[in-house]
């Protein structure tokens, strides 16, 4: 599988992976997260696990067993950590801890490195038999302004890990453990990102009734208030005063997101009666549709007000699209303002930039080309795999003040 990436990865990337993996041959890596499908983390792991495995590092992945009551609590916790004004009761927190206590004996906790993703499984660190020196907590959410009580609760668990990993430096917290930065990535060869021919793209847009002879503005994301779908509709209505264009709001459900249906209903109500707004609730596994919609887009929006990273931004950039993104979370780390797209703070800002890009198709094309190269260098899966290998090296071989030099001298490892 690795060779298939030779034409898309940056020069030297595959050789780099081989050199780093050589120092980790035979070591084991295990991932634990909340859900096997839906949402960015499950998507990332679906692609990352085979990669490290193929490099000679036996890699496994387990998701927590589905439990609606537990996910109600973790969704509230998730929202509170991203700054929403919601409250967790003592009973909620006890249900959360008790669920993880019950689940822990069924999970594999003995790999050389265990990466625990996001708040849902974070308290597994308290499970009996855990070697904390080999557990890393990986945060995928926007922790730049967490609710105080929620963060206090989570921090008690996080500080017992060997390290914490965030998408961008701004999400790092005051913690007594080392905090590293690993941005997420996309897989250029998966169904969501691989090249598509025009006939396939048109077949998908025709199925939804989208007219490709007019500009298409697309936002792909779960129906979540932090993605600001209603703000997107407002921006679109401002733009439509000058341009005959269409808006596509498309997203799928995640099993750990009980709010999704409620937000979808709000969006459908806001769009009701407007034939140029397409609200598409895509079923799980709609990767081809997402790929085609992004490729059919004239401009892609990701107008989030909070965002862990916003991989849909990277996906669209890889397809050569200029992206207008909310200046939130990890989006500023992806969009180079004025070079690969624009960062905005309001529906008015989104409308202004949309009007510019729809008026200047050549500038839009240039930005799209810059965007693709930016993704190639920084946000492809090959870079992400490299970062996981580096993380393993640092966890297994301790802290160095100077660069770690490979091949490693024979030594006892911690």
């Amino acid at each position: 599988m690795i060779d298939a990436y030779r034409d898309v990865a940056p020069r030297g990337a595959l050789e780099e992976l081989a050199a780093l993996a050589e120092a980790l041959k035979g070591r084991t890596l295990h991932h634990i997260n909340a859900t096997p499908t839906g949402g960015g983390v499950a998507e990332l792991l679906t692609r990352l696990v085979p990669w490290t495995d193929a490099l000679g590092i036996p890699t496994t992945w387990e998701a927590l067993p589905p439990n609606p009551a537990f996910f109600e609590v973790t969704k509230t916790l998730h929202n509170a950590l991203q700054g929403a004004d919601v409250e967790l009761t003592a009973a909620d927190l006890e249900l959360y801890r008790e669920t993880l206590r019950a689940v822990a004996p069924r999970l594999r906790l003995d790999a050389d490195l265990v990466i625990v993703h996001d708040p849902q499984p974070a308290y597994l660190i308290d499970a009996p038999g855990v070697d904390r020196r080999r557990f890393v907590w990986r945060c995928h959410i926007d922790l730049s302004r967490p609710g105080e009580a929620a963060w206090r609760f989570l921090r008690r668990a996080v500080e017992r890990y060997a390290m914490a990993v965030f998408h961008v430096p701004r999400f790092a917290q005051r913690l007594a453990i080392p905090q590293l930065v690993i941005p997420p990535s996309i897989d250029p060869l998966d169904a969501k990102n691989r090249e598509l021919d025009e006939a396939t793209i048109t077949a998908v847009t025709d199925r939804f009734g989208i007219d490709r002879s007019r500009p298409v503005i697309v936002q792909i994301s779960r129906f979540d208030r932090f993605k600001d779908p209603l703000g997107v509709i407002r921006a679109f209505r401002m733009v439509r005063q000058n341009f005959d264009c269409q808006l596509v709001l498309a997203g799928g459900p995640a099993v750990d997101d009980p709010e999704g249906a409620e937000v979808l209903a709000e969006v459908q109500e806001a769009a009701a009666g407007d034939p140029d707004i397409f609200v598409l609730a895509l079923p799980p596994g709609s990767d081809l549709e997402v790929n085609a919609l992004q490729r059919a887009a004239t401009v892609v929006l990701q107008k989030s007000t909070r965002e862990g990273f916003g991989l849909t931004v990277t996906e669209a950039m890889w397809k050569g699209k200029p992206v207008i993104g909310g200046a939130a979370g990890g989006i500023p780390a992806q969009i180079v303002h004025g070079v690969t797209g624009f960062l905005v703070h309001s529906p008015e800002g989104a409308a202004f930039r949309l009007r510019y890009l729809l008026t200047h198709p050549r500038a839009a094309q240039r930005m799209g080309a810059e965007a693709r190269e930016h993704v190639r260098r920084h946000f492809l899966i090959t870079r992400h795999v490299r970062d996981h290998l580096l993380l393993m090296l640092f966890v297994l071989h301790g802290r160095r003040d100077e660069p770690m030099r490979l091949p490693l001298a024979t030594e006892a490892t911690g």
Binding site: R11, G12, E15, E16, A19, L20, A23, S144, R145, F166, P169, R170, A172, R174, P178, Q179, L180, V181, I182, R377, H378, R386, D387, L390, L391, L393, F394, R400, D401, E402, P403, M404, R405, L406, P407
Partner: protein
């Protein structure tokens, strides 16, 4: 005298570690620069070269870019961009030079500007791994071709890492060991902070190819 050993081109990869130091104003940046580990100073002076190897950013280091982007202080940004890194004997001296620039600016205009939340300067550290590129020059004649082939991070590693890591090897010492004293001097005088890594590669190639046309003097 035996021939010097081969020059092994090494590549480098790093993860970013976030420290607890943050700055929202010039005064806080001065405090941070004073307290930050030298590895952090190294990181903020060099990471942009590795980030975009074929493009020299408007401001070559993070301190200057932050002064411009977050503080909106163009004068401070230009002074920090104009640091003479190639002439500074070590990172400690660079730290002092940055501190003097920040202290002078504070004296001139006070500590007026405080950036909005989310735009603070966050001091980071590189967690670095260097590893063989698979390319080693056994003789000076082999060097240019390999320099042409190596990835840009290897060029950056040999140009910049010797300022921080004692194990990193620079180009000049190797050519001096082969008896190319004047080429070594030119390589030492070369200022890599004014170019992108790809432009640096091109300049180095030119220097080396011209330098190798002269006969070697005597081996060190």
């Amino acid at each position: 005298m035996p021939a010097p050993g081969p020059f092994e081109f090494r590549r480098v990869a790093f993860l970013v570690e976030v420290t607890q130091l943050r700055a929202s104003s010039v005064a806080q940046l001065l405090t941070g620069v004073t307290l930050a580990p030298l590895g952090s100073i190294f990181y903020h002076l060099h990471q942009r070269f590795f980030l975009e190897p074929d493009r020299l950013p408007e401001y070559p280091n993070d301190f200057a870019a932050w002064a411009h982007d977050a503080l909106g202080d163009g004068v401070l940004a230009e002074r920090l961009a104009n640091l003479n890194l190639a002439r500074s004997p070590d990172l400690g001296a660079v730290r002092r030079e940055i501190s003097v620039i920040l202290a002078e600016r504070l004296q001139q205009v006070g500590d007026g500007g405080v950036v909005a939340p989310g735009f603070e300067f966050i001091f980071c550290l590189p967690r670095m791994v260097d590893y063989p590129s698979g390319r080693s020059a056994r003789t000076p004649a082999e060097f240019p071709e390999l320099l042409r082939e190596v990835e840009p991070d290897a060029v950056g590693y040999h140009l910049f890492a010797p300022r921080w890591a004692t194990t990193a090897r620079d180009f000049a010492a190797w050519f001096r060991a082969w008896g190319y004293g004047s080429l070594a001097q030119q390589l030492e005088a070369f200022d890599p902070y004014l170019n992108s890594l790809e432009d640096n590669r091109a300049y180095l190639l030119e220097l080396v190819e011209v330098g190798l046309r002269q006969p070697a003097e005597s081996r060190a």
